[in-house]
Subunit: 115 residues, 4 copies
Amino acid sequence: MSSQDPVHQHADCIAACNACAVACHHCAASCLQEPDVQAMARCIGLDLDCAQICQLSVALMAGGSEHAAALCRVCAQVCRSCADECGRHSHDHCQQCAEACRRCAGECERMAAAA
Amino acid sequence: MSSQDPVHQHADCIAACNACAVACHHCAASCLQEPDVQAMARCIGLDLDCAQICQLSVALMAGGSEHAAALCRVCAQVCRSCADECGRHSHDHCQQCAEACRRCAGECERMAAAA
Amino acid sequence: MSSQDPVHQHADCIAACNACAVACHHCAASCLQEPDVQAMARCIGLDLDCAQICQLSVALMAGGSEHAAALCRVCAQVCRSCADECGRHSHDHCQQCAEACRRCAGECERMAAAA
Amino acid sequence: MSSQDPVHQHADCIAACNACAVACHHCAASCLQEPDVQAMARCIGLDLDCAQICQLSVALMAGGSEHAAALCRVCAQVCRSCADECGRHSHDHCQQCAEACRRCAGECERMAAAA
């Protein structure tokens, strides 16, 4: 791949989205096993939204889509709201997910602003 | 399902997104078989973007996500640009895809405006 | 589209997969709101697996993929296990989801056998 | 995350699937820009199948799904056929994609065998 191709150009954002999707799928599954699962319902829902939009953002960035920036802008919003919700819970998986979401939001905002 | 659940509330938009995703995947695969495939490159790329974002929009609407309207707003933009590109080509699959994209764009705009 | 194109050829299976994906996303979200959500953890997990593999099956069938039958074979298995789990719960969304899963499993088995 | 959680347990396979999905989306988009795009039609189709099933495999592994191994088994088959096709073409993106597909196939086979 050349240094101008979308995979290199968006390497940091792609990596952050992939890490965030994995953290979100893991957090959702782990929340479902917690004794206080009822308190985790919104967290689980946002985890799943966030995981799926992160994976689609990767697909569009890697494919050099002309709509990648528009999707990353929404992805950043979903990551922020997922980070806020996860950050409220003390479970390790929630705290780690919140961190992954915050990093991903930052990368997606940077990507969308540069486009 | 009750009449207020998201599946009923967004039934028309979900149906339009599903029809659009199918038309887009079919159009992309059909474009790849055309003798003038080189002229279809942008059409194929937009078809794939559009198919994937339509399927994610269905997932978020059916799951009652608080981010469904934000995603549908971007989905409408992708549908509009895919409809414009497909509309330029006389292949049956392109014309049918353009029509599915326009209907889906309209439904997604209505859904996003109502949210 | 001609009568031999994959969209017409697999029309029933595509429709069943789309209906199943919507029912599964709805069931998962509804389970998360139930007072007995702890008892619904496996149901939610299977709903999400099933919804996602159904949507991918649609993508591969509509695109005429040479791997569509192989994916539909696994999709049928996931639908069967989701139907079994949903069928154990009396919530309306679970019963409706179990029915959608059973229909989809049947269509996917037929599609895979014909390929 | 504990050392037995699915994200750690399947870390190599998740990384290989993510890398493969990115390589496949990039290869498909790059093939569409090649002067010999007509000769790349099957490569593009397999790239897209492979990218999507790799991303779903990540979702199921990260979520600890009981169906992850069954999906990884099919994912390995798709990766093998995509690697074979990409390997026939001398474009850099094809050769790099073939390599990513072979690594991913190996990881998915190992994962499925261990389950």
